[in-house]
Symmetry: C2
Subunit: 290 residues, 2 copies
């Protein structure tokens, strides 16, 4: 029975934002203008609207400029592409983010491909996926970046550790596998077609759960002492009829087995916007270096 | 004790080239001109010269046009880039390959990035690495493509099989891991920093050796019945003083344990040029489709 540490992503993200605030001030002093982040939202999905508002608030709080472009649900694809061309050309805009999902009449791949890769702070452009894959400087998707920050904060060097990533999405699973490989982990990517998923998970010094299935990963799938990063955010109905958020890992069962685990909420979630701000500063700095 | 099958890459490559010959004839009949492959060689390294000559010979044999551009060792980087710009613009050229290594005064990354990704038949451009990573149509590096062809020929569906890739180069290890993931394997990437490499290898239904260390992988690292693909080609001195080629796997020890294994030479090696021709036809077909 080990004492399971709770990895406080909220506190870490606060610390990261405080550090960024200092770095943004130094950037602004050096260049005369602050780094700028443009967010494009098409339509008025309530969850997306809340998320965009939070991003803008945190962007301004660390001293950066926030540009919000809110288009109606009816916006045409060519209008979105024209806006992106303007933002690509605008020197005050160092980072561009298109809030997903887009309305069905707009081709998401085409829109993502239209963002200048040097301003692609979500890291979804194929050029950034390729640069990450071949080991060049890339803008890396925010959630994977946050996961690795939490792991390095806890463990120091990750070299030689066995990491098992459950889930192979382009947004989380695949980029986190690339990042862990870059940190010299031995990396296994498991997924819905994996034959003996519990046995794969039990080998993990670092277990990343990114499948989007509530509490699928059970306590006895966890190697004693392992560091568990739970990327899942699933809304479920409790016995009292009220809904609550749970992760992909059975959190209560992991107690006394995992060495450390991120809670849901309050683990990986708060890291995502903080890493978006980090990416915007990284993009601005690289653009300034030419 | 199992009967270990020897995977005959030479025979498979011959069959692939025969099939390609028919498809090239159909392409040429439909479009009026054959697919064309341009190879750029800078300098006169003997091994590279032999390899380029073999490529040209096999290109013509399947009915495609071969364009060889041999530049002196002293060629400047801007001359190579200007040549690539011409080849990118030339409609008779559907595939472009720059033979590596380049002389030290030329920036390899810059040269590879100058090739039109739709003509990048080596699959080394970051856009192709990115497209492979996110699951879009990509031109895939030739050796990994050949390895997966041999595996699918032997095993049919690879779904759910556990694959262990030893080695994480951009040319072999990483792209083969992506391809095996796309085939629904559970994929582990192991490397020099992996803690217990024999134990990782022993889990593999499919074991890919791509480390470039002669006979490093021993017989007792192999799971009985596993399919072993040996990408290594290492020249070693025998007891008789003569040199010979060996793979990364101790071939004699694998007999009676592996279900099947590629020999060195005659396994993966012959597949590489055949897959280059396949990529050239694929590129030409996609370009014609617009």
């Amino acid at each position: 029975m080990v004492e399971t540490a709770i990895i406080d992503g909220k506190a870490f993200a606060e610390g990261l934002r405080a550090r960024l605030k200092g770095e943004v001030a130094a950037y602004t002093a050096a260049h005369g203008t602050p780094p700028g982040l443009a967010v494009v939202l098409v339509g008025s999905d309530p969850a997306s609207s809340v998320y965009v508002r939070n991003k803008a608030k945190q962007t301004v709080e660390v001293g950066m400029a926030s540009f919000e472009h809110l288009l109606p649900e009816s916006a045409r694809e060519d209008e979105v592409l024209a806006l992106l061309a303007d933002l690509n050309a605008d020197p005050a805009v160092n980072g561009i983010l298109v809030q997903l999902p887009l309305p069905a009449h707009i081709d998401t791949q085409k829109v993502l491909a239209a963002i200048d890769p040097t301003k692609d702070v979500d890291g979804f452009h194929v050029v950034n996926a390729g640069r990450l894959a071949v080991g060049l400087d890339a803008l890396v998707p925010c959630t994977p970046l946050g996961c690795v920050m939490l792991l390095k904060d806890r463990l120091g060097s990750l070299a030689g550790l066995k990491a098992v990533v459950v889930g192979r999405s382009n947004i989380v699973g695949k980029p986190i596998a690339q990042l862990l490989l870059r940190e010299d982990c031995t990396v296994t990517i498991a997924h819905s077609r994996t034959k003996d998923l519990p046995a794969e998970c039990r080998q993990a010094d670092i277990l990343i759960a990114a499948v989007g299935r509530p509490e699928m990963i059970r306590g006895d799938w966890i190697k004693p002492g392992a560091s568990v990063i739970d990327v899942g955010i699933n809304r479920v109905s409790g016995a009292d009829g009220k809904s609550r958020l749970v992760g992909d890992v059975a959190f209560a069962e992991a107690q006394g087995i995992a060495g450390a685990i991120t809670p849901v909420p309050g683990g990986v979630g708060p890291m995502t916007i903080a890493c978006l701000l980090q990416n915007t500063l990284t993009a601005a700095t690289r653009q300034a270096e030419g």
